[in-house]
């Protein structure tokens, strides 16, 4: 009956060009679920050579307005007490912001000059915390005078530090005054983070129930929930797998474990050695989470035999059940 109804619906919607929605949306979805069910929710294989830690933590450009369009960015996403955040802005006749910051900067064209560029830092309540001028004078945060990039630097004051384990999102409103007096405004932001724990720099690895367990030592200063995420790469730095773990921790030193599921290594036809390419510890007691730095520990795992890793699909019950129901509805 469902198929009949769907067929009638499709018939009614087909255009003269003969276009139709793919008939098996449910089948595609079910296939996705079956593929994902091979791995646990806490570890997955990276097939696109993209490290999610890098992808999510590389600052991007925020742009707004008509030409010349004002674009702004910061030197990072999260900062801690005493650290300095560099604020950057540019006016450009074209938009070249298709990718992350590194790509966007490489594609800059048609830069315009401004009479003045100033930035205002506000919190979520709308309170102004700081105001500063951005300059194109080659000093401080500005690398090259006269290149059309305006920069300024703000050091995060201790008085504004959030409580341990917490973070505050800060908005940066940047205004550029053009030669004719018109203004362009763009809005970016960053996080003032006060992580409640840190990675000590000690790592170790071993086999655990057919998976590769990489452990990181954590020093907890403030009780709370902590989330650890790490990317495993080959020795050439190619991202291969990602794993995460989270749990409440009391003050003191603890080992947190990242379990890279064994089937990943069978699909890669490799048992290592691998490198723990990047890792980060997040204080996840409250939102917004207090982001910790992304570190490159360089820990190299021991050499294992492929046969020591499980080659069995994990078989996530919830995904397989969802796929079964979708198949039943087709």
């Amino acid at each position: 009956m469902n198929r009949i109804l769907m067929g009638l619906a499709l018939l009614a919607t087909v255009t003269a060009a003969g276009a139709a929605p793919v008939a098996d949306l449910l089948g595609q979805t079910a296939a996705d679920y079956r593929a994902a069910a091979r791995f646990p929710d806490h570890a997955w294989r990276l097939t696109d050579a993209v490290d999610p830690l890098l992808e999510e933590r590389e600052p991007t450009v925020q742009s707004l307005g008509s030409s010349p369009r004002l674009s702004v960015w910061t030197s990072g996403i999260a900062f801690e007490r005493g650290q300095s955040v560099d604020l950057h802005a540019r006016l450009a006749d074209t938009t070249a912001d298709a990718g992350p910051l590194s790509q966007a900067l490489a594609g800059l064209t048609g830069r315009s000059r401004a009479q003045a560029v100033r930035a205002e830092i506000r919190n979520a309540a709308g309170l102004t915390l700081a105001e500063l001028s951005l300059a194109d004078d080659g000093r401080g945060a500005d690398r090259l005078a006269g290149d059309g990039l305006y920069s300024g630097r703000w050091t995060l004051p201790a008085a504004l530090q959030p409580p341990p384990g917490r973070a505050e999102s800060l908005l940066v409103r940047t205004t550029a005054t053009l030669a004719d007096g018109q203004e362009r405004v763009a809005v970016g932001g960053f996080q003032y983070s006060h992580p409640g724990a840190r990675l000590t720099g000690r790592y170790r690895d071993r086999l655990h129930e057919g998976s590769l367990r990489v452990e990181a030592e954590v020093e907890v200063l403030s009780p709370g929930r902590y989330h650890l995420a790490g990317t495993l790469a080959d020795l050439g730095g190619l991202p291969l797998a990602h794993a995460q773990a989270a749990q409440p921790l009391a003050p003191g030193r603890h080992w947190l474990a990242l379990d890279y599921y064994g089937l990943i290594f069978h699909e890669l036809s490799s048992a290592g050695p691998f490198r723990l390419e990047r890792i980060t510890l997040t204080s996840a007691t409250a939102m917004p989470n207090a982001l910790g730095p992304v570190l490159t520990p360089g820990h190299r795992t021991r050499l294992y035999a492929l046969g020591q890793f499980t080659d069995r699909p994990f078989g996530r019950v919830d995904l397989l059940e969802a796929a079964r129901r979708l198949d039943g509805a087709r």
């Binding site: 276009a19 949306l25 996403i77 938009t95 405004v185 989330h227 989470n289 509805a329």
Partner: protein, 333 residues
């Protein structure tokens, strides 16, 4: 007499088939977008009316004239997407729907999850951001697991999400409002109005984006959205947009949330390593997307769902000349 009997028999068949169809079809759960007040949280009528304009009713059309069962969620659309009256409320209501409970208007899904029901979430605008947070924090290893509601149960019970004009990467409209932008960038859109808590966390800055606080969605999020400009507002947004949300966000793109995309090149590389898939694009603005008044052109996009002659349609191909998003969704089940 004969025709009377035939009529009654046919009516019986139709009613029977409709009931059978309602049981076999998914229950549609509707999650609205950003609000300028708390009305949709406190009033079922307000939540229901979110989907209606000038007699056009998204829910009526998407449910094929109410032949398919549905449930309308109402949450506090002035809160940040992760707060208890947003993500927490939505999660609890979805679980209620899958338990067979009634929404504020007495509507309930034809079959509970325990009785074999399937459930699709239809989310508009900020509703999609809320769903990203819930479905990306459904496992105990996720950073914000069950932060303020039964996210794990939601993920286990829903089949998929249809995200319409979703603010997955924030909204440049929110940037403009929070930046008190002037001139043509001054957004009059009724969706935003002020830089309240919801708007503050819907900006396109990296530090507030949902992807930084969640993992890949545990269920597939199918993406569609509009490319009809809103005069003035769209001039400030990057690439194609629906007047409030830019394509990079509607289609959950990796890279910059301000990247310029159109129907020919919108991304297939997503903000997470899995869980997002493209459907198509419509000549609708942000308002049109959530009601049934603008029956307009639909376009194929890269990685999208439309086929032409048995193969995927070339991006930017016009695949329909007059079809609302509500009608489109009704053809998918």
């Amino acid at each position: 007499m004969f025709w009377n009997r035939c009529g009654r028999w046919l009516a019986g068949v139709v009613v029977g088939l409709s009931a059978w169809s309602a049981q076999a079809a998914p229950c549609l759960i509707f999650v609205h977008g950003k609000q300028t007040d708390t009305n949709t949280f406190t009033s079922y009528t307000a939540a229901r009316n979110y989907w209606i304009k000038d007699g056009g009713d998204f829910i009526r059309t998407a449910t094929k004239g109410f032949a398919t069962s549905y449930y309308v969620v109402g949450y506090n659309g002035t809160n940040a997407y992760f707060e208890a009256q947003a993500a927490g409320e939505v999660a609890n209501e979805i679980v209620n729907a899958t338990n067979g409970g009634a929404d504020g208007g007495g509507r309930r899904c034809a079959q509970s999850f325990a009785n074999g029901g399937t459930f699709w979430v239809i989310a508009h605008s900020m509703g999609s951001t809320v769903m990203d947070f819930i479905l990306g924090n459904n496992d105990s290893s996720d950073p914000n697991y069950n932060y303020n509601g039964p996210y794990n149960t939601v993920a286990a019970r829903i089949a998929l999400v249809m995200a319409v004009g979703g603010a997955h990467r924030g909204s440049e409209g929110a940037d403009a409002v929070c930046g008190q932008s002037s001139g043509s960038c001054n957004f009059a859109a009724s969706f935003i109005q002020s830089c309240d808590t919801a708007t503050f966390y819907l900006r396109s800055a990296d530090d507030v984006q949902v992807r930084g606080f969640s993992n890949a969605p545990a269920r597939t999020v199918w993406l569609t959205g509009g490319y009809e400009a809103i005069f003035g507002a769209s001039a400030c947004l990057s690439g194609e947009d629906d007047g409030v949300v830019q394509y990079a966000s509607i289609f959950a793109c990796a890279g910059s949330a301000n990247a310029s995309y159109n129907n020919g090149n919108v991304c297939t590389s997503k903000q997470e390593s899995s869980g997002f898939r493209n459907l198509d694009a419509a000549h609708e603005n942000h308002d049109d997307e959530r009601n049934d008044v603008d029956s307009d052109t639909r376009k194929a996009i890269p990685g999208g769902i439309w086929t032409c002659g048995g193969v995927p349609c070339a991006p930017d191909t016009t695949v329909q000349s007059a079809m609302t998003t509500a009608r489109f969704i009704s053809t998918l089940y």
